[in-house]
């Protein structure tokens, strides 16, 4: 086939794929909704949310996880458009800064007292299982939507989507998580996020390349 013949076929084709934005607007809320149902089916909201101390602890976690969710989803989304100026990766510093402040504050209050108990908490295993579990569907929904985009760095786009999904899943788990030490968050939330980032990167290479 000559190139001019191909061009003729291309110029006759008016079909435009459903945009990544359309798909994302449909699929991501749905995925988060299903993950929330899954959360309430398997775990309960944490008791004592009316108490200041408990509420504060939950809000501190959300101050880390929600910015991570936003940064990951937004950056992955931006990575779909070829030729845009470089990604504002500094957004990822927001959750890191939140966590750093919490760590300093915690150290100032308690020092290294009972460090190991604070680090491992009641149930670190539940954390590293639950967060990826609640993140899985949001990640799948993003990958499905992002296949319509044109990421020139598919692995990076997948990795960022994985981080965003982990932020969403972690925000759900934070509503249950009984372990409040920032060191717990640093170790286990981060590990979960890295697991999801790894999945996202791997899936991005296979699913987002075009």
């Amino acid at each position: 086939m000559k190139t001019e013949d191909l061009i003729r076929a291309l110029s006759e084709d008016k079909g435009i794929n459903p945009g990544a934005g359309q798909r994302l607007a449909l699929a991501l809320p749905l995925a988060v909704g299903v993950a929330a149902v899954l959360f309430f089916a398997t775990m309960s909201l944490r008791g004592g949310l009316g108490q200041f101390e408990v509420l504060r602890a939950v809000l501190i976690k959300l101050a880390v996880t929600l910015p991570l969710a936003f940064a990951g989803v937004f950056l992955a989304w931006r990575a779909l458009e070829p030729g845009r100026s470089s990604l504002p990766l500094g957004l990822l510093l927001v959750p890191i800064a939140s966590l750093a402040i919490a760590l300093v504050w915690d150290l100032a209050r308690f020092g290294l007292d009972q460090f190991s108990a604070r680090l491992f908490g009641h149930n670190y295993l539940a954390c590293v299982v639950a967060i990826p579990l609640f993140s899985a569907l949001p990640l799948v929904s993003m990958l499905w939507a992002f296949r319509q985009g044109a990421p020139t760095a598919p692995e990076k786009a997948g990795l960022l989507a994985g981080l965003g999904a982990a932020g969403l899943g972690a925000s759900l788990y934070a509503l249950h998580c009984p372990d409040d030490s920032p060191f717990f968050i640093l170790a286990w939330y981060s590990l979960s996020a890295l697991i999801m980032a790894g999945f996202g990167r791997f899936a991005g290479r296979r699913l987002l390349a075009w």
């Binding site: 086939m1 000559k2 190139t3 001019e4 013949d5 191909l6 061009i7 003729r8 076929a9 291309l10 110029s11 006759e12 084709d13 008016k14 079909g15 435009i16 794929n17 945009g19 990544a20 779909l80 458009e81 070829p82 030729g83 845009r84 319509q148 985009g149 044109a150 020139t152 390349a209 075009w210």
Partner: protein
């Protein structure tokens, strides 16, 4: 590209033709640098054009066109060259660099023709009628006894399949 997105086929065909010329020169330079022959130039050009076409909605018309185009072309060129060099003997073509950017040659067309042959019967008939015989979607619809909408959908799907077949080649 703005005219094309607004549905102006002639403007779009002109744009793609222009792009094909620029790409052809770029691709042969890239192949020459890699010490490979010119045999694949047209295949790669077609693959890049197909990608530009299928991803054209990822360009935001409020932004300038050329950064988008350059990013897409670079991504597809690198992807295509890397894939094609894998597991294949590099053709020693010492003269490649002094050869002029080639006009299209007959023997460059093996790949696309082979890939089109792998389409199902009906999409293949549609693609061939439009590309080789230069028919419009309306004429093809009448000839194949389909609605024009169905022909358009089938054409779009066939082009997506073609892009996928390109990607799978040599993997």
């Amino acid at each position: 590209m703005r005219a094309a997105l607004a549905g102006n086929s002639a403007a779009y065909a002109a744009l793609l033709g222009e792009l094909a010329r620029v790409l052809r020169a770029q691709v042969s330079r890239a192949l020459a640098r890699a010490g490979r022959g010119n045999a694949e130039v047209e295949d790669i050009v077609q693959e890049v054009l197909l990608a530009i076409h299928l991803k054209r909605d990822s360009w935001n018309p409020e932004l300038p066109f050329s950064p988008w185009l350059n990013a897409v072309a670079r991504y597809k060129l690198i992807d295509s060259l890397r894939r094609r060099s894998g597991g294949r003997d590099v053709a020693v073509e010492d003269l490649a660099e002094v050869l002029p950017a080639p006009e299209e040659k007959n023997d460059d067309r093996a790949d696309a023709t082979r890939l089109i042959a792998r389409l199902d019967e009906r999409p293949r008939a549609i693609v061939e009628a439009i590309s080789l015989e230069g028919r419009s979607t309306g004429e093809v619809a009448a000839k194949l006894n389909m609605s024009e909408g169905a022909v358009r959908v089938a054409l779009h799907r066939a082009l997506k399949t073609l892009a996928k077949l390109y990607r799978e080649e040599g993997q």
